[in-house]
Chain length 325, copies 2
C-alpha cells in the first residue's frame, strides 16, 4: 500500500497534513528547512489564489470573537477559511494570540476552517518568512480566504500588510479623544475599519466612533487604485453576528475593483519583490545575530557610548572581526 | 623650515586646512580614507564640544538668508560658526544647497564663519558618515556652533536630527490648510519651529501661522527631557534680522536645560551608538551595491515579480551568488 506524500495530502485538503507542513516551515532545523523548501517547490502554483486578509486591532476589541463569527459566516457560504497569526511578541509574553483554540471553539470544529496558532518566534524577519510560507501552503490547500491576524506589536502590522491583499482594522467604540490611540501609520494601512461591539449599551457609541473614524479616513489621501469612498469605516457586532455580511460585501467589491484595475496583480508582484529583497538583506545582516557577534556589538557599542572609540573606528573593529573587508 | 601638519593647522583655526580635511573625509579614494582616518584619530578629543544645530525647511522659506543673518548675529557675539549641508539629492539635481557661497556673501567673508557646500554624494549612508566626520573636524577647529542644513529629501532630516543637539524647522507663513504639508515625523523632530518672513505684508500671516504650529506642537507628546513649553514655535524675519536673538536665547535655554539634566550627554552617546550600528549594517549590505550585484538583484526581482521564482528561492540564488551561506 503506497502512502500519499505530504504534498499530495495537502492538495487533497487534509488539515493535519497542512498543519504538519506549517510546522516544517516554522522549524529552524536545517533538515526541516530543506524539506520545507522541497515541499514549497513541489506545491508552487497548485491550489488557488486565496484572498489574503490582514487584520489588526486594539487589545480587548474582540478579535477572536470577530474571527470566529466572520469565519463561520464564510464557511456557511461554502468557503474554506484559514486563520494564521503573526505575533513576534509571543515568545516573550508566553501567551500567544490564537494560542488557545478554545477561544474559537466553533470555528476550530468546522471542517472548512483551519486555525493555526502563532509560532513562538520573537524575530520579526523569521516570522514574516514563515507566515509567507504558511500562506503559500494554505493556498496550495485551496483555502478561499486566509485571515492573517496580528497583535499591534512593533512592526508586525507592516509585515502583515505586506503579506495581504486587504487590510482590516478592528476597533472598539470609544470617546472621540481616544482616536489618538491608533497610530496614523496603521490607519493608513487599513482598507476597511470595523468598529466592533455595535451592540447593547455600546451601539450608539460605536456609531459615533465609526463616524469619527470615517472623518479621519477622509483626511487621509485617497489611494489612486481604489474606488470613491474607500478606505471605509463600518460598525459590526461579532457577538450578535451583525454587519458581517455587509463587511464581506465591501471586501469583495474592493477586491473585484482591484482585480479589474490590475492593481491586485501589481500589488502581489510588488510584495513578492519586497520579500525577496528583505530576505537577502536579512541574510546579509544575520552575521550580527550570532551570540558572539551580539556580544561584541554590545561591547563595542558601550565603548562608543562612553566616548572611548569613535563610531567609525568601532565599526572597523567589528567588521574586521566579522571578516568583512 | 618645518611645515605644520594638516592637523596642527586645523587646531590653529586655519579655514583652508579645515576645508582640505573635509575634502579628505568626503573622498572615496582609499588613500584619502586612510589619511582621513589618521587625521580624525589625531584630532579626537581636541577642540570643543560645539552646539550642533540641525536645520530643515520647506523650499523657498529663505534658508540661506536665515543662515546668513543668524550666523552673522552669532559671529557678532564673538562666536565661531561652521555651516555644513546634507543633501543626498545634490548629485542628481546638479544644483546643491550652499553650492553657491555667493548666496551667503557676507557670512562667507566673515573670518569667524566657515561655510561648506554639500558634497556631491547621492548615497545617504555615505553622506551621513562624511557629515559626521566633517562635524568632528569643525569641533577640532573649535567652532562654537555647527549648523547642519538639510533639504527635505528622503530620510535626510532623520540623518541630520541624529547628528544634532538641537533641531530647527524653518517654515514660511501660510494658510491653515497648508499645515498639512509638513510631515508629522518632521514636526516631531523639531525643538524649535521658526516661521520666517514675519515682515512687511506677511507679518500678520506669519503670526497666525506660528499660532497654528504652536497648537499643533501642543498636540504632540511632550518630551520628558525638556522643560514646559518646548518644542516651541516663534516668528522671525531673516531679512529684517528680527527675532533672531530671541530664537538664539531659546536655543541656549533648551541646551542648558538638557546639559543640566544629563540629557545632552545621553543623547550624544545614543547618537554615537546609533551611527556605529548603522555603519556596521551599511558595510554588510554594501555587497548589494556593486554593479554586478545590483544587476543580479534587478534580474532576480523581475523574475519574482513575474511569478517565475518565489521570493525565498530567488533570495537563495542571490545569496549563493554573493557567496553567503
Amino acid at each position: 500500500m503506497q502512502t500519499d506524500s505530504l504534498g499530495d495530502r495537502i492538495l487533497n485538503g487534509e488539515r493535519r497534513a497542512l498543519a504538519r507542513a506549517i510546522t516544517l516551515v516554522e522549524s529552524n532545523r536545517a533538515d526541516h528547512r530543506a524539506q520545507a523548501a522541497e515541499l514549497l517547490g513541489q506545491l508552487a502554483g497548485a491550489g488557488r489564489q486565496s484572498l489574503r486578509i490582514g487584520m489588526s486591532g486594539t487589545p480587548g476589541v474582540g478579535k477572536s470573537t470577530f474571527i470566529e463569527s466572520f469565519g463561520m459566516m464564510l464557511t456557511a457560504q461554502g468557503l474554506r477559511v484559514a486563520v494564521l497569526a503573526v505575533d513576534p511578541s509571543s515568545a516573550r509574553s508566553g501567551g500567544s494570540i490564537l494560542g488557545d483554540k478554545t477561544r474559537m471553539e466553533r470555528l476550530s470544529r468546522d471542517k472548512n476552517a483551519f486555525i493555526r496558532p502563532s509560532p513562538s518566534q520573537s524575530h520579526l524577519g523569521g516570522v514574516a518568512r514563515r507566515t509567507r510560507e504558511a500562506i503559500a501552503l494554505c493556498e496550495a490547500a485551496a483555502y478561499d480566504v486566509v485571515l492573517i491576524e496580528t497583535v499591534g506589536v512593533g512592526q508586525s502590522e507592516t509585515v502583515v500588510s505586506e503579506l495581504s491583499d486587504l487590510f482590516l482594522l478592528l476597533l472598539a467604540p470609544a470617546g472621540g479623544d481616544e482616536l489618538q490611540g491608533v497610530k496614523r501609520g496603521i490607519m493608513e494601512m487599513a482598507d476597511i475599519i470595523l468598529v466592533n461591539k455595535a451592540d447593547g449599551d455600546l451601539k450608539a457609541t460605536a456609531t459615533r466612533t465609526c463616524a469619527d473614524y470615517a472623518g479621519a479616513l477622509r483626511l487621509l489621501r485617497k489611494r489612486p487604485q481604489d474606488p470613491e469612498g474607500y478606505p471605509r469605516a463600518m460598525t459590526v457586532s461579532a457577538v450578535e453576528e451583525h454587519g458581517l455580511e455587509q463587511a464581506w460585501e465591501e471586501m469583495q467589491t474592493l477586491t473585484q475593483w482591484r482585480r479589474d484595475s490590475g492593481h491586485w496583480d501589481t500589488n502581489r508582484a510588488t510584495q513578492a519583490r519586497y520579500w525577496f529583497e528583505q530576505e537577502v538583506r536579512h541574510a546579509l545582516l544575520a552575521r550580527l545575530e550570532t551570540p558572539t557577534a551580539r556580544a561584541e556589538m554590545e561591547q563595542m557599542s558601550a565603548k562608543v557610548g562612553a566616548g572611548d572609540l569613535s563610531p567609525s573606528a568601532a565599526a572597523e573593529h567589528m567588521l574586521a572581526s566579522l571578516g568583512v573587508d
